[in-house]
Every structure is written in C-alpha cells, then in structure tokens.
Symmetry: C2
Subunit: 333 residues, 2 copies
C-alpha cells in the first residue's frame, strides 16, 4: 500500500485520500481468505516465508474490491463499523457545494477505488517473489475465483431484482459467491503455488466447499440476528436490502399464508422500522428456518472436518484448518 500510495501521490497529491481509504478499509477485515491461502501452501509441505505472506495477502485486496462495489450496489451506509466508501467520498456534501454532484462523486470514487483494488491484487501476487512458473500455475485458479465471485454476485443481485425466493438459487449463490471464493479457491491457490498435487487439491475442495457454505450461512444468520457491535453493520440491514439468503428461502417454503404475506411485504422495504425487523425475525424463527440453517451449518462443518482427517494435508496445517473451520462457522461477527 505504501508503494501504491507513493505512485498515486506522484501523479497528484489529491489522490492521497484514495490509498488512505483503502488502507483504513483493509484494517478491519477478518483476513480469512489470506489465512486459507497461507495454510493451503503450508498444507502442501511448503515452509513459512515472506513470499507466501505477500501472495496470500493479495486476496484481501480482492475482498476489499468486492465489498466496496457490493456496498455501492446495495447502497449500504456502513461497513466494518464505518461509513462505506461511497458514503465517505460523498461527504464533502455536508460542507456545501452541489449535493447531487458529490453523491455521484461518491459512487464514482467507489467504482474506481474498487477497480484499483482489483488491479492491485494482481500486482501484489505477481510481485510476491514467488517464481514465474509457480505463479502461473496458480494464476488460472486465481482468475476463475474472480469470475466465480462476480457470477455469484450477479446471481445475487438478479435474485434481489426479480424477488426470487428459491432454495436452489440461494444455494448456488452461496456456492459461488462464498464457498468457492472464501475457502476452496484460496486453499487451491496456496496449494498450487506450493506445487501441490491433485489429491491435495481434491482434499481442499472436500474440506473447503462445505466450510465455505457454512461460513456464508453463519454470515446470513449474523446479518439478521447478529449484534451490530460485533458485525459492524446495523441490525436488520440485510432484511431491508431484501437479501435472498437460504434462511429467507427456507422461510418462504415453510411459511403459512400470513407469514408469507409478511415476508412479501416487508423484505426489501428500506423504510422498515425496528418493529418491522422484529416481525420478520419472528417469522424466520417460527418457521424453523433458523433452526434448519443452524443444523445445516453443523452438518457441513462435520463433513468438512471428516474430509480433512481423511486427506493428506501435512504438518501444522491440518490443525490450523481445523481451528479455522470453527472460527469461520461459529463466530459472532
């Protein structure tokens, strides 16, 4: 980031807030994807070294890009307890000037800052010091991961636009937007950078996909029932945005007529008050959608740990991945 900051301010000092905002944004992350990438490398028997730290950290820039663009698409005001990037850059609004212009500028800045993070993640992994051959063995997977992430995001916003309620669609969004992107692909990238063989890559899938799905299901639950002090997002935001999670899809499937009416009227209503949020939460509990998702998280995690035990992950990596599985699926924020 220091390198990118000096490159940008050499172009023009007014660009300083761009790298400051990214640096600040990166501060608050859970760094799960770099962790899985790092342990993917170690699990193939490669040693701890600065090169894999840099390569793995590049995934946090991809995550920053995805979140900055995601917040703009959802028009979310808050991320990690702070104003989202498009809100931050629209702030001069408050000190006068043309309000419309500054709101537009906030959106434009968020698009461009996300684009910069997308480019910087390539630049970072490429300059990690890992050799050209090893790097280009992992790069196709790195690119698939980005395509899968954006495909998942597209399916997600399409479902929001069409008001889709299906369980199958919700599961597909989870698979591409979260399971592959958050766990499986980072493990693969670490493994491929280290020269890992097919059997290892398959173990990473057998462990990574269920853990990634469980991770996202936990995220969905926290988006509705989580403590804002822990999640960094206002309570009920996901309900007001009308996010089509598995939790919601299951509630639709199991709802009685009155519950269904409530879901249809209140989900995606941006003006919903706290009472309305509570009423929606009650439907998710009373239809047993919440209990079903909790049970699924448990089943997925157990399956992942079983695959990990049966696989050929070496050294400390097996224990680290066991701990990460718990951290990713049992967290509070």
């Amino acid at each position: 980031m220091a390198e990118q900051a000096s490159r940008l301010t050499a172009i023009d000092p007014v660009l300083a807030p761009v790298t400051e905002a990214v640096r600040d944004f990166l501060d608050g992350g859970k760094r799960l994807r770099p962790a899985f990438c790092y342990w993917g490398w170690r699990g193939a028997g490669a040693p701890d070294c600065p090169e894999i730290i840099v390569a793995a950290a590049s995934l946090e820039l991809l995550q920053a890009a995805a979140l900055i663009h995601d917040d703009l698409m959802d028009d979310s005001n808050t991320r990690r307890g702070k104003p989202s990037i498009h809100r931050q850059f629209a702030a001069p609004l408050e000190s006068g000037g043309h309000p419309g212009r500054w709101t537009d500028f906030g959106a434009a800045a968020a698009i461009l800052i996300g684009d910069l993070c997308l480019s910087w993640c390539d630049a970072m992994i490429e300059s990690s010091g890992i050799g050209p051959t090893e790097l280009l063995r992992a790069k196709p997977t790195f690119q698939y991961m980005r395509t899968e992430l954006m495909a998942g995001q597209y399916l997600d916003v399409l479902a929001q636009a069409t008001g889709g309620t299906g369980v199958d669609r919700a599961l597909k969004v989870i698979r591409y937007k979260a399971a592959k992107y958050t766990v499986e692909r980072p493990l693969h990238i670490g493994g491929l950078l280290a020269g890992g063989q097919n059997a290892l890559i398959e173990t990473y899938s057998a462990y990574g996909l269920p853990i990634g799905e469980a991770f996202q299901l936990r995220d969905d639950i926290l988006g509705v029932f989580g403590d804002p002090a822990e999640t960094g997002k206002p309570a009920g935001d996901d309900l007001r945005e009308g996010k089509r999670t598995l939790l919601v899809a299951l509630a639709f499937e199991r709802a009685g007529p009155a519950q269904r009416d409530l879901l249809e009227q209140s989900l995606g209503d941006r003006t919903l008050d706290d009472q309305g949020v509570d009423a929606l939460r009650a439907v998710l509990v009373e239809t047993d959608a919440l209990a079903a998702v909790e049970a699924l998280i448990e089943r997925l995690t157990a399956g992942a740990l079983h695959a990990l035990d049966g696989g050929n992950v070496v050294g400390d990596a097996r224990e680290a991945l066991r701990e990460l599985a718990v951290a990713a699926t049992m967290r509070a924020g």
Copy 2:
C-alpha cells in the same frame, strides 16, 4: 470469450446475457490499444505470431471495463451507437416489474460486468502462450497502466464534481487517462513482452506520449463537434456531462465576462437543449480554444513522428506506427 461464456453458463444459464453483452460491446471498438501493443512487439524485432495477438487483444477487455464503468459514472445512455451496459440491463423495466429495482440492477450489472472484464484481461494475457518470464517482465507495466488509468479517471470525475477549470489539471487527466494508457503503455507492454531494451522503451515514450495526448484532444473535439453517426454518441453529450477537457479549460481562460457566465451556467447542465449546446460550441470557437487545440494536436503529432524517425524501431513497425499516429489523431469517429 467463448471460454468465459461456457464457464459462466455452466454456473447458471441466466448468466448468458453477461458474455453476450461483452461480446457485442467488443465488436464496436477501434482496437487502438491492441494495435499499439502489437506494433510495440514487432518494433522490437519479434515476429508476427498468435501469442502476441492474444496478449494484445487482452487490452481491449481493459478498455471495455473502463468504458462500462465510465458510462455508469457519467450516466451516459449511449456507447458505440447502442445503449450503454447499465441501460441495457435496466431494460426489463419496460416490461413491467419494480422500476427502481431494475434501474439498480442495471447499475449493479454494469459494475460486475466491468469487474469481470478487468479480471478477464489478466486471464487473457496470462493464457496467451507467451512464456512466464517474458510475461512477468511486462506485467508490472500492465498493472501501472491500470493504476494510471483509474487515477486519471478519478482526477477527471473529481474535476467534474468540483467544477475545476484549470489547464494544468486538464493536461494531467489527458496524460494519465489517455496518453499513457492508450499509446505509451501498450507500446511498452508489447516491447517488454518481446524483450525490448531500454532505448526502445524510451523511443516508445517519446512517440507514444504526444500521440496519446493528441488522440485524446481529438476525442475531446469530437465529443463536442463530432458527427453522432461517426462517434456513436449523441452530439453535445460531453457538454451536458460537464467534462473538464483542455478545450473547456482554454475557453475559460480566454473567455470574456459574458462568455464565462455562459460556460459556468450551461456546462454540466443535463437538461441543455440543442440551442444551448450550439451556444456553448460558439464560445469554444470564438475564444479560439478550438483553434488552439487543433494547433496543439498538429504540434504533438509532428513531435511524435520526429521521435519515431530518430528511434530504433525496426521493420514494418516504423511505418505502421506512422500510420497509426495519423489514424489516432485525424479520425472523425
């Protein structure tokens, strides 16, 4: 694109419109950046081959990403004579449903499709068949180019938001958003992929920067005075968007009080009618801003061709770059 299309539809058939839209978008481009990249390779003495065609073509995906995001930021309705991507994907609006949701979906789709193009350009150059060592010699420049492009875009939208009128700022935007990105860096990338030496890279800068600046100045003139049938954009759009070009900056510098009032009131007024556009055009002519920009284009092109003649560009590339210089700066659309 066929490969990306089959990857996306394997995830879900509803993703088919994404690659169709990109394919369609790529159809209409001038392909200047790939041309400069290709001749950068040939100018270093490397032979024509499929690998450089693929590597050079990847730059067209970067350009697609930049334009798709740019059109969203400017809320432009039209690109290359067709609806812009965010308009295309907001179209189900017309066939009923929730209008607001579909407009939001159009914006979200444009963000994600631009992001996909940004990732695909890396994937394409990486899978070009050029060896890992050669590729990673050029990749840092490829990444600087993206950073410079987005920095230039940021300066551009910031100037629009603040209503900046300075000549220096306008020249800086041109340098980063256009000169380096359109000509100098593509030449460098081609040259570096071919193993070109420093002297060649310097010649590419001495030729590329002025040609790139002249290219953008021509673009600015066409954005105001061009024939919509040739440019694919409605006449006067740049004036309604309030683009802070050198043409506009010079007009501000040279304007009398009445002309300045007109510029301040009408530039960036999205409701401006044809008569208002004509009045602004008249100010750009009467202040001699247009004549000054035309003279500058001529001077820059002459300087670039002089540098080309004095440099060590080999083979057919010298003649091709001479022709490209004319095509880029004397075009009508």
